[in-house]
């Protein structure tokens, strides 16, 4: 199972706890994880990726194993530790706005 940590506002929206688990078919990438996330929690569609362009919203970033994967192409495999469930994919809201 893939582990994902959401920012607080999205946890409230999806009515989930600090960490959720997803089953992902095939290669574990940003795209496949987010596809699985939005399929399981459809209320999150449009909140992480733009509805039309599917691009990451500007004030969100993706971290795993202490590395920033936000700028990686969406089909790049995530680290083995994420694919194995040893480490979570962190979806982080920017600290901005004062």
């Amino acid at each position: 199972m893939i582990r994902v940590v959401l920012p607080g506002h999205l946890r409230a929206l999806a009515r989930v706890g600090p960490e959720i688990q997803l089953h992902v078919e095939g290669p574990v990438t940003q795209r496949s994880v987010l596809d699985a996330l939005e399929a399981q929690y459809p209320m999150l569609r449009g909140t992480i990726r733009d509805h039309v362009t599917q691009e990451r919203r500007p004030f969100l970033r993706f971290f795993a194993c202490a590395e920033d994967y936000s700028l990686e192409p969406p089909d790049t495999p995530l680290p083995d530790a994420v694919a194995s469930g040893a480490e979570p994919l962190l979806i982080i809201g920017a600290i901005a706005g004062g």
């Binding site: 607080g8 009515r15 399981q40 209320m43 449009g46 909140t47 509805h51 969100l60 706005g97």
Partner: protein, 394 residues
């Protein structure tokens, strides 16, 4: 006995204030959607338990919420919280998906408007400013959005489709954002003519359709705005809010950036009715529930100083449809008050006497149970209030 429900949108959540017909003791529920900007909440006239809400965030985008029990519980239309498992079949309704229609069949390939510096800029969806439910169908609701456009849902908010004739009617490339963004903030439906809709945009002006949203025309003749290159231009006026009494759909009242205006011919022409107001800058304007010539504004010092003159919070009432105004101060702070009252933050109930309510950027919601003669704070320490709507319940 009648009840009143006041729906309050704030910078950090929504609040529902309820009282009985006496309007003396209030119950406060909330915050709903804590931490999110709640731009607007409005109940359906056809089903008062149906409430639509615009939940938005610079981080996470736009969410539409709906309550079917008067604000006690909420769901995103089409995505109930207990329906988490993916199921085969077509996609669920996508209630937070607002995509501009640029198809040749139904709209126009209009993709830019004027930016602050006069160059053209892509049309980019940011948020829903205003939700206006239908008079007759609880599942039909209109949304006014930034960048300016109008959308309609006919399935209870599950799916949204733009009425693209507004952006595409011809003047769109000349629309320019105001300081708060290029927002469509006012939608007025005409109970006597379902095909007529008025809308207003900052800073483009007011527009009207007479065919249910297919075609639109600017209705800004008579507006004079010194701050734009052509003060009497067809579009480009920073209209802050427009109000109408349901019994007189051809009479409109407008709070423009500067100037309070009135039209007696459905917006075809306007005349100024600022009269003896201490300043004619402001944001809100509303009409008494039973007296179509009684209107309310809250004068704000200037476009650079968004607070009441001399620190005195005063609602001004005209019983003559403008020009002659009286200050209403009883119960309102008359010193050291430097809050603003934003454009969608005033509403009236339909009890007798008419109740008037407004919210401030300081987090107060004031109510008057005697048509403005006296005021009482209902709540005093909310986050900055973005919108106030009222439901009068049997």
């Amino acid at each position: 006995m009648s009840k009143v429900r006041v729906l309050v949108g704030t910078r950090k959540g929504a609040f529902v204030l309820t009282t009985d017909g006496k309007r003396q003791k209030w119950e406060v529920s909330g915050p709903h959607f804590a931490g999110w900007e709640m731009y607007h909440l409005k109940g359906s006239p056809a089903d008062p338990n149906r409430i639509y809400a615009s939940q938005t965030s610079g981080w996470f985008g736009q969410i539409i919420q709906r309550s079917d029990d008067g604000g006690k519980t909420w769901t995103q239309p089409g995505t109930p919280p207990d329906e988490k498992d993916p199921k085969p079949g077509p996609p669920k309704g996508e209630s937070n998906k607002f995509v501009y229609d640029t198809s040749a069949e139904t709209g126009k390939p209009l993709t830019t408007h004027m930016w602050y510096d006069g160059t053209q800029h892509p049309w980019e969806f940011k948020r829903v400013w205003h939700l206006e439910p239908s008079f007759t169908d609880p599942d039909t609701v209109y949304a006014g959005v930034e960048d300016a456009g109008i959308f309609r849902s006919t399935d209870g908010g599950k799916n949204w489709k733009e009425l693209a004739g507004l952006r595409g009617h011809g003047t769109g490339p000349r629309w320019q954002p105001g300081a708060g963004g290029m927002c469509l903030h006012t939608i007025i439906l005409d109970k006597s003519d379902p095909k007529r809709i008025y809308i207003a945009i900052s800073a483009a002006g007011a527009f009207r359709t007479d065919d249910g949203g297919k075609t639109w025309k600017p209705i800004n003749k008579g507006l004079y705005s010194q701050y734009i290159p052509e003060p009497t231009a067809e579009v480009g006026h920073c209209v802050h809010h427009v109000a109408m009494h349901p019994s007189r759909p051809n009479v409109l009242f407008m709070q423009k950036h500067w100037d309070v205006m009135r039209s007696d011919n459905a917006g075809d022409s306007w005349k100024e009715v600022s009269g003896n107001l201490p300043t004619d800058f402001g944001f809100v304007i509303d009409v008494h529930a039973h007296e179509p010539e009684t209107i309310y504004v809250v004068p704000i010092k200037s476009d650079g100083e968004h607070f009441p003159i001399d620190g005195k919070l005063r609602v001004y009432r005209s019983k003559s449809g403008g020009n002659e105004w009286e200050a209403l101060t009883k119960g309102l702070p008359q010193k050291d008050c430097y809050v603003n009252i934003l454009r969608d933050a005033m509403a009236v109930d339909s009890l007798d006497k008419c109740g008037v309510y407004f919210g401030t950027t300081g987090g107060q919601v004031y109510g008057s149970a005697d048509a403005g003669d006296s005021w009482t704070p209902i709540v005093e320490h909310l986050p900055a209030v973005l919108s106030v709507e009222v439901q009068t319940l049997p």
